[in-house]
Symmetry: C2
Subunit: 335 residues, 2 copies
């Protein structure tokens, strides 16, 4: 373990298999980060339960799905430590200590949570667990003493909340046990729109292509993809902006010259959606084929995959035990 | 371990040494309960931190104070299990799972918490930790599967909150792993007024006689005790109602006939406060002397006392591990 390397904490809620949006938004960045940092990737089952507490079986099942996706895209367990959140018992403890350092009103003002409460329609019936999840996140980030947390723009308030808690903890307990982190919005990351052209690809919106989708299903999904609704006849000129097919080509086709040509052709007319989509299917298949193959191979021995995750969890536990030892010491909780 | 015995969960926040109010309100009842039940007595340091998070050293110090008080009054570690809350790591985990089963609004409606928020002047700045402490209490009660929780009248809403959570948990996870409890307001318990006649003896109100107070200090405190402000001259008739000296005599003097005589004498006039108070000092000293002596003896070997607590904690941990194993199973958190 090289202590000079920055420590990264990242992860996903296991609420479904990962899709292209995850790849673009975070997985691609993690493949880079694992080269240069000490990266912890958390399968956030406890966080998943804040919204899926009444469907824990699904959360359980998706843990292995997510792990398979990680390994399939090239997360290397020798360079990245994958772990299961609920198995790091110290996280619960740190969360409870942190709850004393935050006011309820501060939590309610968190813009990310505010938006989510609206989106999910929780209103006045928001659960305590949901309102507190930024505190739980602060524990996730600070127990490994992460200095870098890759985030989307919309999650920057979470980082601010974490650092507020870290500063309060260090000030009140007169220590420097915990460290502040920096939220990094990855340069290479973008937000991939859904098939329907909606801002975000998401399982719950039903507009996603999963990393594990079979070729037939990908074809079906791309054929339904949102293009230019006014591009009725092949000969008509079509719009490139907001045309999801081109957005995907921009991201997944390495042949930038070809994409530029297709755009020109489409704009002047004469390039039909079907032809264009068939090309995207080819591009996506080139990208997804090796991932799908690796995933299938790995899925033949799920025990081994789970073993990799459990080993990562074990390594993470050691860090957690060490941090909590330090935390308990400054809080005079060592008996 | 006799599984037929009811399981009791009780305890104190280690925010100071215990006083006569604790004795009357709960310790006396625990001495009875330990004969007939399986009683767990929690030194609630984590709960103490919800109000004393910025003074953890004091909380730490008072853990041993409280343990000394327990043993000095006759809590028998062979019949009662004394344990330290923060060392039962499963409690943090259970608390976090429970947070998903309660709405923030429900917590805000809790009458006990509402009153405390007012009394402590937290107002809009109430910490998340404080608002949630009933959830943490629900974890304390349910992890030992307590069926009886001795409470004051004002704490009955806590029991209702606990049972709501237990029912929600069992319903959502289709189980009967957790059990509901009954809040018992002990018959023998009363609320001892403070020296100043205020409704409640309390360290923070500065109106308490501690179990560990030296005779001189007790004398000083009793001499300042609130009696009848209109009873100026010895020969004047005095009032018995609201006269703290008589309230204490009613509780601590086993010679009921004598107390009745004193009351009559006081009411018809001719019994001075000083004489009366000297008698109370004697009565209290008879009660507190053996407790103080045992406490001093125990305090000579604090390591041994701590050992008793740590052994109790170890036994409690086994229960906690078993309950959490069951909890994780029904929540599909077993990997």
């Amino acid at each position: 373990m090289n202590h000079q390397k920055p420590i990264v904490l990242t992860g996903d809620r296991p609420t479904g298999p990962l899709h292209l949006g995850h790849y673009v938004g975070s997985l691609a960045n993690r493949l880079l980060l694992q080269q240069t940092t000490k990266q912890y990737i958390m399968i956030a089952d406890v966080q998943a339960l804040t919204t899926h507490f009444d469907d824990p079986k699904k959360v359980h099942e998706h843990v292995i799905d997510v792990a398979l996706d990680y390994l399939a895209v090239g997360i290397d367990p020798n360079n990245s430590t994958i772990f299961i959140q609920s198995m790091i018992h110290e996280l619960f403890e740190l969360t409870v200590y942190f709850l004393n350092l935050v006011t309820v009103n501060r939590l309610k003002r968190n813009p990310t949570v505010k938006t989510e409460i609206q989106q999910k329609g929780y209103g006045e019936n928001v659960s305590a667990g949901f309102l507190m999840y930024p505190v739980s996140q602060a524990a996730d980030i600070s127990f490994v003493k992460a200095t870098i947390v890759p985030v989307g723009e919309d999650q920057l308030p979470m980082i601010e909340q974490t650092n507020e808690i870290v500063r309060a903890f260090n000030r009140i307990y007169n220590t420097n046990v915990l460290v502040e982190c920096k939220g990094i919005v990855p340069e290479i990351a973008g937000r991939l729109p859904g098939l329907d052209g909606k801002a975000k690809m998401s399982k719950s919106l039903g507009n996603a292509i999963f990393l594990s989708d079979e070729p037939d299903l990908i074809k079906e999904k791309v054929m339904k993809m949102y293009t230019d609704p006014n591009h009725i006849h092949v000969k008509d000129p079509g719009k490139v902006e907001g045309n999801v097919v081109f957005t995907y080509l921009d991201v997944f086709d390495s042949d930038k010259k070809k994409v530029a040509e297709l755009k020109q052709h489409y704009q002047r007319g004469g390039l039909g959606d079907v032809v264009l989509k068939k090309y995207l299917i080819e591009v996506l298949e080139n990208f997804l084929h090796p991932i799908r193959q690796r995933r299938k191979q790995l899925a033949q021995n799920k025990d081994e995959v789970m073993n990799i995750v459990l080993q990562g969890t074990e390594r993470t536990r050691e860090i957690a035990a060490q941090t909590l030892k330090e935390v308990r010491e400054v809080m005079f909780l060592d008996y």
